[in-house]
């Protein structure tokens, strides 16, 4: 029976949320191919959540433990996953910073190409077929892959869904590898916030905020939502108001949250490239002709300094009643 390998991502000994999305996708693919699903978890020791992966459709959970797996090990992880991939017809990754580094390494070791940042996946016969945004989201490319199909899935595009399978945990031996690169540490960013590429709500500010201190208004709204990340346009990142990690757009991050709120952002094509796949878009801008309104589901025309405090209050009120 064919099988699919789903690569789980963890940080500080816990699985990351995106892993459940990858596993859900693997399960769906397996069901249409009549295949089984192996989830692989790499770490220095036990990873919290690994035993529960059966809930999201893993038939088997392979745990690969190694002293050098406390942080990401590009060479160790790719050697291990390439070894585990033997006999699998597809290998699925999350298109995160780690997955984007890892998927092409594994593909190269397996001697095949890879389809990155896919937003949809299906099968045609025994082939995996994916859809991926190209040209900064201005076109969609449909790609057919051979076997094994190496694919990375854009976070937040395929929601995690439970589908209980056995989830039998087995240890997988890490092959010998040469660590050509060593990851020393993970430093906290200067502005520690939820990451825009993974949050389900993203609230971004632009030049309309006038000065960096006014981002407090955005932070307050994000806090009112609770699960929101703060993003920014390039104009304010280049001006040094926000970290580069917060930048949404063609030269920043591509986000697909359930809700994207653009505040004081004009909606330049390069900004739209990063957020047009959000499920719901809200724009607040005082210029009724701003291009952002062309992609916004809900627009409010007016002064953000007047609107945001009221909006934040209203969201807090709704949240407190839930």
């Amino acid at each position: 029976m064919p099988s699919i390998l789903a690569v789980m991502e963890s940080r500080s000994g816990s699985l990351r949320k995106v892993s459940h999305e990858v596993l859900t996708t693997a399960r769906r693919l397996a069901d249409s191919l009549g295949a089984t699903v192996d989830a692989i978890v790499l770490g220095k020791g036990p990873v919290a959540g690994a035993e529960e992966l059966g809930a999201f459709g893993a038939d088997r959970v392979l745990t690969a433990t190694h002293d050098q797996f406390e942080l990401y090990s590009p060479d160790g992880f790719s050697a291990t996953i390439a070894a585990a991939a033997a006999g699998h017809s597809a290998v699925l990754f999350a298109a995160t910073a780690t997955g984007r580094d890892l998927a092409p390494r594994v593909a190269a070791r397996l001697g095949v190409g890879c389809a990155t940042d896919v937003t949809d996946i299906s099968t045609e016969g025994q082939n995996v077929v994916v859809t991926r945004p190209v040209y900064a989201g201005r076109a969609l490319q449909k790609v057919r892959l051979g076997s094994p199909a190496v694919v990375s899935i854009r976070p937040n595009t395929i929601p995690a869904a439970e589908n209980r399978k056995e989830g039998r945990v087995e240890s997988f031996p890490v092959p010998a590898f040469t660590a050509r690169v060593t990851v020393k540490e993970i430093k906290a960013p200067a502005q520690a916030t939820l990451d825009v590429s993974e949050a389900s709500v993203v609230i971004s500010g632009g030049r309309g905020l006038k000065e960096p201190a006014n981002f407090k208004l955005i932070e307050d709204l994000a806090a009112a939502f609770g699960n929101a990340a703060v993003g920014a346009s390039r104009a304010v990142v280049d001006a040094g108001w926000r970290d580069h990690g917060a930048q949404v757009g063609q030269t920043g991050k591509t986000v697909s949250p359930g809700l994207y709120i653009a505040v004081g952002i004009s909606g330049a094509i390069q900004h739209l490239a990063g957020m047009r796949t959000a499920k719901v878009i809200v724009a607040i801008n005082r210029d009724k002709d701003a291009p952002i309104f062309k992609v916004a589901d809900y627009g409010v025309v007016g002064d953000l300094f007047e609107i945001l405090p009221k909006f934040t209050e209203a969201v807090k009120k709704v949240r407190s009643e839930q």
Partner: protein, 260 residues
């Protein structure tokens, strides 16, 4: 800012892989084959992330005091113009690997790796991704094929002798990695500010060597089935003006969009 302290007189050999891509504001029209874009009237530019790679190569060579920088582009003859732009920035010479494009990044990586192998490069630089295919893979694959250390999406670099320390952005943090030369790096925004070609540079570029080598790519394991335009977002609506619109906005977010 990158800090390199090679002892003066040690020559540094750096390769940069450069792709010609449509300008990011170009209007996308699907071509007659339904699998590629219609290139008519589209302005092409060097891939923006590759400009960070070009700048880093030039800067590292300047700091080292001597060396050679070489740019490689795989593409049709049209890529010669892109290579000339790199030469005008200050890159010493160019190589065009003449071939039609491929949907399979691994095939491109194999052709580049074959060419780069044995070139004696201390560093091979790439962009973190090409803004046309968004593949995010060729640089890393070349490193795997050449069995070289590779750090991808580098936004900050420190070079000390043959030791490299690089920072890359990951979700909610900055990952700090080390490796030693020879190595492959893929470059992200933030690494540097690419220089513009000077008039003198543009004149000099015309006389710099540009070698053209035909290559043939394998069929690969990926094929494009179709290229389509994304569905237009359905026309949104203006909920209202000013703070008075807030109650209605909140109601819509709760009851219609169900995101609150």
């Amino acid at each position: 800012m990158p800090v390199a302290n090679f002892s003066r007189g040690i020559a540094l050999k750096i390769a940069v892989c450069l792709k010609r891509v449509p300008d990011t504001t170009a209007k996308i029209v699907i071509g007659a084959d339904g699998k590629s874009i219609d290139e008519n009237g589209v302005k092409f530019v060097p891939n923006p992330y590759d400009e960070y790679a070009l700048e880093e190569a030039l800067k590292l060579k300047e700091t080292a005091g001597s060396g050679e920088t070489v740019v490689y582009a795989l593409g049709t003859d049209a890529s010669q113009e892109t290579i000339r732009t790199a030469l005008a920035m200050g890159i010493d010479r160019g190589v065009l690997l003449q071939s039609p494009p491929s949907a399979d990044g691994f095939e491109v990586a194999k052709a580049l790796a074959t060419e780069l192998k044995g070139g004696g490069y201390d560093l091979i630089l790439f962009g973190k991704m090409a803004v046309d295919d968004y593949n995010h893979q060729v640089g890393v694959m070349v490193a795997e094929l050449l069995e070289l250390p590779c750090i991808s999406a580098v936004a900050h670099l420190t070079v000390n002798g043959t030791a490299l320390e690089a920072e890359r952005e990951i979700e909610g943090g900055i990952e700090v990695s080390t490796c030693s030369l020879p190595a492959v790096l893929t470059c992200d925004k933030g690494l540097n500010t690419p220089r513009l070609p000077s008039l003198k540079g543009i004149m000099a570029a015309k006389k710099k060597p540009l070698e053209v080598k035909p290559v043939s790519l394998g069929a690969g394991t990926l094929s494009t089935v179709s290229l389509t335009l994304p569905a237009e977002r359905k026309a949104g609506r203006i909920v209202g003006e000013g703070a008075d619109a807030v109650p209605e906005l909140v109601r819509l977010l709760r009851q219609e969009a169900k995101v609150l």
